[in-house]
């Protein structure tokens, strides 16, 4: 199996799945089976790629050449592989969850849902494999457009307005800032290829490079750096499977992935370390972390609280990238994995609560642990992963991150990280504690177990186990992130 063939399969499988979903419109069970088969085969192909790929000898596949000397091309590197593995694993798991959720919730337009899911995964995979900024930008914009029908799925007025916010913020930042930065980079260097060590060193004065960095980071609206974060809570109006995969994994991770890639392969980590703009951006990320955590504490709506938690966690990664040290990149990349598993578990749980008990506010969750013990236990474990406590996977990335801030001699940010971990105990761990130890707010909670729908429950178990396993079996991920900056 040649590497190029694997690349093509990675892009082709989601597309074929999408077509299959459309074709099986009338037969829901076959349709769902198509989605699951597509997801599992995609993951297997990514794993095959992982085993067969030698990072010392990268393989590039050029698809098209729209402009002279600028092609749409695919090339794998460690960070991309990491993201691809995460997204590839979590897609079938989320599909499993979605089957339970959508049916129990009697959602309409399920074919459109699974179709949009599949093509969004296509766009995500294209992002992970991009060999240059042009390919990345194309896939990035596709992701925005393909996920729009998912965000506005409900079709209500609120969904429409959320769709406008989503589209507006993401496209304004991507066309106004990111595209400008990309074209500017092209004029400065004559290339857009992702190159170890970066392509911008010495090509312009620090002031210009700093402005470019600002354009790139603010242009990546999907990373939800303040003040371009509003789309994330707005997108919570979508069904929970959408929020889980896309806004805990695919869309937001594409954002921070982009920032990491640009930091490592366009600027080069040394250059980032030298730029004032990077320092200010890391401070802004720190500010985002704290303010998002505080806002999260004030939110009673469960999904809104999780949304702000996501904003906060994403800024961890942005902060890590802007530190300008190799440890930061390792920390940020590892956090992509850890946060993905933890957050998706939390969203799964929130969705399960919504479907089984029609509750969406934290204040209504007192004592629900009696009725949904497995779900709330999963919630607890995932929360601990976010806080960064062993034996959950999140502790590794937290530890690396703390080390990186010390490497970069930034005590302020070190304190920010510690404070935010503390805050996350308050706004996250509070919930399972209420669930198990508080007096029930709804008397029905005592009437025996009414757990999540079966498929969804299986998905929850898988991801929670993932959070635990990632603590003990972290070495494959560790090996990958170490190779990003050799």
């Amino acid at each position: 199996m040649s590497i190029e063939l694997l690349y093509i399969l990675i892009l082709l499988i989601p597309l074929l799945t999408a077509v299959g979903v459309l074709v099986c419109h009338q037969k829901p069970n076959v349709r769902e089976a198509v989605t699951l088969i597509g997801g599992i085969s995609l993951f297997l192909v990514v794993v095959a790629l992982a085993f067969n790929y030698d990072f010392e000898q990268p393989v590039t596949l050029t698809l098209l050449e729209p402009f002279p000397n600028l092609s749409l091309a695919l090339r794998l590197e460690p960070l991309g592989l990491l993201f691809a593995l995460v997204a590839g694993f979590l897609w079938p798991v989320t599909s499993l969850y979605a089957i339970g959720y959508m049916r129990a919730h009697h959602e309409k337009n399920q074919t459109r849902f699974y179709f949009a899911f599949a093509i969004s995964i296509f766009a995500t995979m294209a992002i992970t494999l991009s060999a240059n900024l042009l390919t990345l930008f194309l896939a990035y914009e596709m992701l925005t457009l393909f996920t729009l029908p998912l965000v506005t799925h409900a079709g209500t007025d609120a969904a429409r307005r959320a769709g406008w916010t989503y589209l507006g913020i993401l496209m304004t930042t991507s066309i106004g800032f990111l595209l400008l930065a990309i074209i500017w980079t092209w004029t400065l260097t004559g290339t857009l290829e992702f190159t170890p060590g970066g392509i911008l060193a010495g090509k312009a004065e620090p002031a210009i490079l700093g402005a470019l960095l600002l354009l790139f980071v603010f242009g990546t609206g999907k990373a939800a750096l303040m003040p371009f974060h509003r789309w994330l809570p707005a997108a919570m109006v979508a069904p929970t499977p959408v929020s889980s995969l896309l806004h805990a994994v695919a869309v937001v991770k594409a954002g921070v992935f982009t920032i990491l890639k640009i930091a490592v392969y366009i600027f080069g980590i040394d250059l980032v370390g030298q730029l004032d703009a990077a320092y200010w951006l890391s401070m802004l990320a720190g500010f985002t972390i704290l303010s998002a955590s505080i806002i999260a504490m004030s939110k009673d709506n469960l999904k809104a609280r999780l949304a702000y938690s996501t904003i906060s966690q994403l800024s961890y990664i942005i902060l890590a990238a802007m530190l300008g040290v190799a440890g930061g990149i390792m920390a940020g990349s590892l956090h992509i994995v850890m946060h993905a598993f933890a957050k998706i578990t939390l969203f799964f749980a929130a969705g399960a609560i919504l479907v089984s008990w029609h509750k969406s506010s934290v204040s209504e969750l007192n004592g629900i642990g009696r009725a949904m013990p497995i779900t709330m236990l999963a919630f607890l474990l995932a929360s601990l992963s976010i806080v960064g406590l062993p034996p959950l996977g999140g502790s590794w990335s937290k530890w690396l991150l703390l080390n990186a801030t010390m490497d970069a001699h930034n005590m302020v940010l070190l304190i920010v990280l510690l404070v935010s971990s503390l805050l996350s105990i308050f706004y996250l761990v509070e919930i399972p504690i209420r669930a198990f130890f508080a007096k029930p707010s709804d008397p029905n909670y005592n009437n025996g177990i009414n757990e999540a729908p079966t498929f969804s429950l299986i998905a929850i178990l898988i991801t929670t186990t993932g959070c635990l396993l990632l603590f003990f079996l972290v070495s494959p991920a560790w090996n990958l992130v170490e190779q990003i900056i050799p």
Partner: protein, 493 residues
């Protein structure tokens, strides 16, 4: 082969004769058929011409064997060939589209005359693109304009008449200004041949007469090209004319006016004079920028989608003028590239609207409620065109934006680059409004999935898919643009 030698004159003569033939035959279906056959011939001819130009750089053809500069000469260089390609391809797709569209929108007794006028417009526009005689440009300009006035007036809405009249007044003033300019140039140099003029002008360039001539010509062309603030005639003319007409005009007419501008500015006066001595580069950039912003902002407030697209066209012409005003090689390349790509974009959008009009006799935004379900293929094509207009990567519009921003950054005008990208956001707003209504508003009572004629759908989708094709493979579009620019700038005396 004899045919090949005479292609330059045939591409003008054939549509003219075909028009006359149609009137003589006075048969409705026959009229359409002749139009279709003529456009097929034109496409074939344009491809041949492009290949010939690729080999010899410039094709020169003297009418009646009278040698230039005394006789009228036709000169086809890369730019002319590009224009002929745009015109021929648009003519072909519009002809396919017209079969059913004309039946629906235009009263039966006018069909034959409609096709005649259409062919005259095509002949006139092609003539403008290939002639090397300044006065000849005026003649062909008026041929195409008069036929255009007639075509616009055939729209169903009575406001089409008034729009056509308004356009007639403004257009004639514009053409007469051009005539004045040509007259002044003739007086000072004694010749009308563009190349000859280019050689003789530098000697007399420092006179008021030549400066006045330049001013008159640029204003005249500005009116025709709908350069802000001379754009007043365009929104109504596009909005109320029949769908075939607005599609064809949006794809071609203003571009040909810009072509005339480029010809005069580059081939005739030369960059030195036009863009350095006269402050035309700044003027173009300012007016272009105002056009971009004004057009986009006005578009947002329209409730008639056709008028919205008309204002959008004003904005797009602004982009092209801005690019020309940069007076640099990347700038001109971006301008020519966008002339080509914009024809594809607006062709798609107006054709899609034509299908809406076909079914519902209106292009008000409210009529398009729920159209994502009732006319899914049409809306999908509209969406593709819309994405191309916004400049989403993977579409032809993105390619134009890319080159334009590069040209602006090349001139260190990064505030303008940012502005161009911001204008894309404005485009997103008004296109987004249409898409929102089509996909998110409920379907009106009792409306079911609409059937539309196959010919119209085929033409629409050819336009739509070419947006994607030329967004991913720019060899032809960008290649021709670069070639044309090299020839134009190298021609400066």
């Amino acid at each position: 082969m004899d045919l090949m030698m005479h292609l330059p004159v045939l591409i003008v003569v054939v549509p003219l004769l075909a028009g006359a033939l149609i009137v003589l035959l006075n048969h409705r279906k026959g009229a359409w058929l002749i139009t279709l056959l003529t456009s097929i011939f034109l496409v074939y001819a344009s491809v041949q011409l492009i290949q010939m130009v690729g080999q010899v750089d410039v094709i020169s053809y003297t009418l009646g064997g009278w040698k230039a500069p005394l006789g009228i000469e036709l000169r086809i260089d890369a730019l002319s060939a590009l224009m002929v390609l745009i015109l021929a391809a648009s003519a072909l797709l519009v002809s396919i589209y017209a079969l059913k569209s004309v039946e629906k929108e235009i009263p039966e007794q006018n069909h034959v005359l409609f096709y005649t006028a259409l062919l005259l417009v095509i002949a006139g526009l092609i003539g403008i693109s290939i002639t090397a005689d300044a006065f000849n440009i005026f003649v062909f300009l008026e041929i195409s304009s008069l036929s255009t006035y007639a075509l616009i007036s055939m729209g169903r809405d009575r406001r089409a008449l008034h729009a056509s009249y308004h356009y007639l007044i403004m257009g004639t003033i514009g053409a007469t200004f051009i005539l004045i300019g040509i007259g002044f140039m003739y007086v000072m140099t004694g010749t009308l041949n563009i190349e000859d003029l280019a050689q003789r002008l530098p000697a007399v360039a420092d006179t008021n007469a030549i400066r006045a001539a330049f001013a008159f010509i640029t204003i005249g062309v500005g009116i025709k090209a709908a350069m802000m603030p001379l754009h007043q005639w365009l929104p109504n003319a596009y909005a109320y004319s029949p769908s075939v007409v607005s599609t064809f005009l949006a794809a071609t007419a203003t571009k040909v006016a810009v072509y005339v501008l480029i010809r005069f500015v580059l081939s005739l006066y030369g960059i030195e004079f036009s863009l350095v001595q006269m402050p035309f580069d700044n003027l173009l950039m300012i007016l272009g920028t105002i056009g971009i912003l004004g057009g986009s902002v006005y578009a947002i407030y329209q409730s008639n989608v056709k008028r919205m697209l008309a204002y959008s066209s004003v904005a797009q012409i602004g982009y092209i003028l801005l690019a020309i005003g940069l007076a640099s090689q990347p700038g001109f390349t971006a301008a020519l590239l966008h002339m080509f790509n914009h024809a594809l974009i607006k062709g798609t959008l107006f054709m899609a609207l034509g299908l809406v009009f076909f079914r519902f006799a209106s292009t008000e935004l409210s009529v398009m409620s729920g159209m994502g379900k009732t006319m899914p293929l049409t809306m999908a094509a509209f969406t593709i065109g819309g994405l191309s207009l916004i400049g989403v990567p993977g579409t032809a519009g993105f390619v134009s934006k890319w080159y334009l921003v590069i040209a602006l950054l090349d001139a260190s005008l990064w505030p303008l680059a940012l502005l161009v990208l911001v204008a894309s956001i404005l485009t997103l707003i008004y296109i987004g409004r249409v898409i929102e209504v089509a996909y998110f508003r409920p379907v009106p009572e009792g409306r079911t999935r609409q059937k539309v004629p196959l010919t119209m759908m085929v033409a629409l989708w050819i336009f739509a898919l070419s947006n994607i094709y030329f967004g991913l493979d720019t060899e032809i579009s960008q290649g021709m643009a670069s070639l044309a620019v090299n020839q134009l700038i190298g021609v400066t005396p």
